[in-house]
């Protein structure tokens, strides 16, 4: 549009066109005007409604490179690719649309509100597509929806609260999208079995009703959660797998987690957690994969943890632990690098350890992570120790605030004590502890607060209990002392920022703010060892890509993570556990220098190491989509549904309301994330494939899909092998992704849609920040990095970036992944 407000004829025409293509319903959700040819005959009214819904959806698709919807023509909706019918649950004599499965279709478009007409839908699977916008409110009509998988798309905006209105929902997968803002606490009160919201931009503190969630698995990795790990975590009765890695949690781990007897995977790596590990972890008898790497934990590792009967991998590198029981050295997989462990290789420098140990002790009670309930109680008594840094202990408890650094501990007292009702009652007496021995019986600290560490005295310092039994809840030694009533010293504990960093070079300094993790230094080192280099570096940029055509992106593995947010240190790379991750350069400094840390590695880690997964496998390469392989030539579709445009009499389904103005949807983000994110492609990997094969997902696949003609291209499935780790994770998509609709017509390849003029052109500005990309290849860390200087090169359009590295944006055209290993199913 021109700035003076005048529109050219061409602009007017395009805008008019757009307005005719869709309307908005009372919720502001987009819908499409669908005309039903009166000559069509439907088996029953439900299938007629399904027809309307699917035709609307087809009209809302801008690109379907693999021709999944090409045969979405006519009244036999049950024969449409990706559409699955079954006898209706309330009337076995009629067929109805029971499932939609467009996984890995690479389709670009949005979800029209007409999808709410698919009222008998039990499955809605659209992993790895390019759907953008939001989830229509009319989805609340899907009373039988059991599984909602919107993963790896481009949905944006706030958490789609409509999912909370789905009474039958059990499986919710929103991962790898661009959702932002808080997550409603009601999510945890809902009767779900699986919550996957990792790799988005959610930012908030976990509510204290987390423990009410009956899920067997929850993954919130790679978001911007911060604050407490609620003590109610220990109440999650059905929990088996939990991954909270790569967020900004900055409290202690509550001793209540010892009650999680069925947990096999517990990964809280790459956060800012402090204190010592609760000895109660020794009660988590089903534990197989335990990862707390890249935090600021200190104290001694309770021997009970390393004695867990099923523990396959225990990764606690990049912390400040000062004691490690010998039994830990006998685990099938473990990683203790970069701590302050005497006589162990690859530890932090004495300077770093000394700097850390000089910090005020951590007072876990000061975080106030218990169930809140009450308001501010009075309490303040923080008497005792005047804590130094602590400063005014302010009494107030306000609920919230714990967040960040504890410094001034908000909570008064006892930390949280009040709150935490459940659990730990009073002191000693009860021993909650699970079976395990020593463990925690006593709950630690008086205050109720989780035991953990109250005191962690400086690391090196006190020799706490070294002896094996760590008994008391975690906080061993000192018990006596500390307890001060009120929770004592308020304190500041931790972190304030400044501390740590010791100038020492290499190693990661934990920079204050940022979690240490990223560590820069690391990159290199270790890594090499691991075999797996495999990861294909796929360049990928998933995210974005505009050009529809290319199948690209989606899959690829490395995805960029999400968010760009600055705040977080990049962190990133995470995946790997292993330490070295390359990482991201933390904040600003670009310089990657990585000097190898001192000791460097050497450590050949034992095999598995880290866990993360399992590297093993092949990176799943994404599916290669070959570009258009397939299929028949796309019929030209115009938007009109059926070929022959039927005559007139259309019946429109919803009255259109053309809303004028609105351009596209709104979602737009204003800024695209700046993405500075380093990309690490596949990082680390380190590990060997350890243990688990992570991936669960999938397996071979069985039977071929039903009708289909086309193979969907890609199979992607990689899963099979698991390697999990992902790696790449992190990074945000490269740039901004286009706001939903706007696809400007880049070079429009094939797509037939009219190029809508993107309305807001504005948005794409080059993202603000030029990202820095780093890439490291696994092996030698080459860190390449681009400095961010301004000129980013990236323009949206063009594609062809050099493959390898890909910068951020460009879509990578079909990258073929090298190994196409996974057998495609089909």
């Amino acid at each position: 549009l021109t700035f003076n407000g005048d529109l050219s004829d061409n602009e007017v025409r395009l805008i008019t066109q757009r307005q005719l293509l869709y309307f908005r319903d009372e919720f502001g959700d987009r819908g499409e005007n669908v005309d039903v040819d009166p000559s069509l005959v439907f088996e029953n009214p439900r299938l007629r409604n399904a027809y309307i819904a699917l035709q609307a959806w087809k009209q809302a698709i801008l690109s379907d490179p693999n021709n999944f919807t090409t045969n979405w023509i006519g009244s036999d909706v049950c024969s449409y690719t990706g559409v699955y019918c079954a006898p209706a649950l309330d009337n076995r004599r009629i067929r109805t649309v029971a499932g939609i499965d467009l996984n890995h279709a690479d389709i670009a478009g949005y979800l029209p509100q007409e999808l709410g007409l698919l009222t008998d839908l039990a499955l809605f699977h659209i992993n790895s597509n390019r759907f953008c916008g939001t989830v229509p409110h009319r989805f609340n009509r899907l009373k039988l929806l059991f599984e909602l998988d919107l993963s790896n798309n481009r949905f944006a905006g706030i958490f789609p609260t409509v999912v909370l209105q789905l009474p039958s929902l059990k499986f919710l997968d929103l991962r790898f999208n661009e959702f932002e803002g808080p997550v409603p606490r009601e999510l945890f009160s809902k009767d779900l079995d699986a919550i996957f919201i990792n790799h988005n931009r959610f930012r908030f503190e976990l509510p204290d009703n987390l423990g009410d969630s009956p899920v067997s698995v929850i993954v919130v990795a790679n978001n911007h959660f911060h604050g407490c790990i609620p003590t109610s975590l220990g109440d999650m009765r059905n929990l088996e797998e939990i991954i909270f890695m790569e967020n900004g949690f900055n409290s202690c781990l509550p001793s209540q987690i010892g009650r999680l007897k069925n947990v096999t995977v517990f990964d809280f790596s790459f956060n800012e957690l402090v204190g010592s590990l609760p000895a109660s972890i020794g009660g988590m008898v089903s534990m197989e994969q335990l990862n707390v790497a890249h935090n600021r934990f200190s104290g001694k590792i309770p021997a009970t943890i390393c004695q867990l009967p099923r523990l396959e991998n225990f990764t606690f590198s990049y912390n400040f632990f000062t004691g490690e029981p010998p039994v830990c050295l006998g685990l099938p997989g473990f990683d203790d690098r970069r701590n302050c462990l005497p006589a162990r290789p690859a530890q932090r420098s004495p300077g770093q350890c000394a700097a850390f140990s000089s910090l005020p002790p951590v007072d876990c009670g000061s975080f106030g992570c218990g169930r809140s309930t009450r308001p501010p109680v009075v309490v303040p008594s923080p008497p005792t120790t005047p804590s130094p840094g602590g400063s005014p202990p302010s009494p107030s408890i306000s609920p919230s605030p714990p967040i960040t650094v504890p410094s001034p501990p908000t909570t008064p007292s006892p930390g949280g004590s009040p709150p935490s009702p459940s659990i730990v009652p009073s002191p000693p007496s009860t021993t909650p502890s699970p079976g395990s021995p020593p463990t925690s019986p006593t709950t630690p600290t008086p205050g109720g607060s989780p035991p953990s560490s109250p005191t962690t005295p400086t690391p090196g310092g006190s020799p706490p209990s070294s002896p094996t039994t760590p008994t008391p809840g975690g906080s061993p030694p000192s018990s006596p002392t500390t307890p001060s009533p009120g929770g004592s010293p308020p304190s500041p504990s931790i972190s304030p920022s400044p501390p740590i960093t010791v100038p020492s070079p290499p190693s990661t300094p934990t920079s204050p703010g940022s979690p240490p993790s990223p560590s820069s230094p690391t990159p290199s080192s270790p890594i090499p060892s691991p075999p797996t280099p495999s990861t294909p570096p796929t360049p990928i940029s998933p995210g974005q890509n505009s050009p529809p055509i290319i199948p690209s992106p989606p899959f690829t593995g490395p995805s960029p993570p999400s968010s760009p947010s600055p705040p977080l240190p990049p962190v990133i790379p995470s995946p790997p556990i292993v330490g070295p991750t390359p990482s991201s350069p933390p904040p600003s400094t670009p310089t990657p220098v990585y000097s190898p840390p001192p000791p460097s590695t050497g450590y050949p880690p034992p095999p598995p190491f880290t866990g993360y997964s399992p590297p093993s496998p092949p990176p799943p390469p994404p599916p290669t989509f070959s570009p258009s392989p397939s299929i028949p030539p796309p019929p030209p579709q115009t938007y009109s549904p059926f070929p022959p445009p039927p005559p007139p009499p259309p019946q429109t389904y919803y009255p259109p309301q053309p809303s004028p103005s609105q351009p596209p949807q709104s979602p737009i983000y204003g800024t695209p994330p700046p993405s500075p994110i380093p990309y690490l492609p596949s990082p680390p990997q380190f590990a060997s494939p350890p243990p688990p094969a992570p991936y669960y997902y999938s397996s071979p696949q069985p039977p071929p899909p039903p009708h289909y003609s086309l193979p969907p291209p890609t199979p992607t499935y990689h899963y099979i092998s698991p390697p999990p780790p992902p790696t790449p994770i992190h990074s945000p998509p490269p740039q901004s992704h286009p706001p939903c609709i706007e696809y400007s017509p880049p070079p429009p390849p094939t797509v037939h849609y009219n190029p809508p003029p993107p309305p807001s052109p504005a948005h794409y500005s080059p993202p603000p920040s030029p990202p820095v990309y780093y890439y490291n290849s696994p092996p030698p860390p080459p860190a390449v990095h681009y400095s961010p200087p301004p000129p980013p090169v990236i323009h949206h359009s063009q594609p062809p970036p050099p493959p390898i590295y890909e910068g951020p944006l460009p879509p990578i055209p079909g990258i073929s992944y090298a190994s196409p290993p996974p057998p495609p199913f089909y």
Binding site: G82, Y84, A86, A98, G99, N103, H104, A122, L123, H125, S128, F146, E147, D149, S151, K170, F171, R175, D193, N198, S216, V217, V219, A221, E240, E241, I243, T264, Q289, P542, P554, T556, G557, S559, P575, P620, P622, P623, P691, P692, A693, P694, Y695, Y696, Y697, S698, S699, P700, Q701, P702, P703, P705, P706, Y717, H718, Y719, P723, P724, P725, P726
Partner: protein, 50 residues
């Protein structure tokens, strides 16, 4: 133990719990009925995909 963890699998963007088209993620066993309403397990962590 080649156990596969659905949680670690979720860290990869393009993975899905079950590759059988049209089947519930909770009914991924080989030979299972391909009906969206059919489910063979109740906890995704324990649903085996054969």
């Amino acid at each position: 133990a080649t156990r596969r963890y659905i949680s670690y699998g979720a860290l990869r963007r393009n993975t899905i719990p079950c590759s059988r088209r049209g089947a519930s993620y909770y009914n991924c066993r080989r030979g299972a009925q391909a009906n969206p309403y059919s489910r063979g397990c109740s906890a995704i962590t324990r649903c085996r995909r054969s």
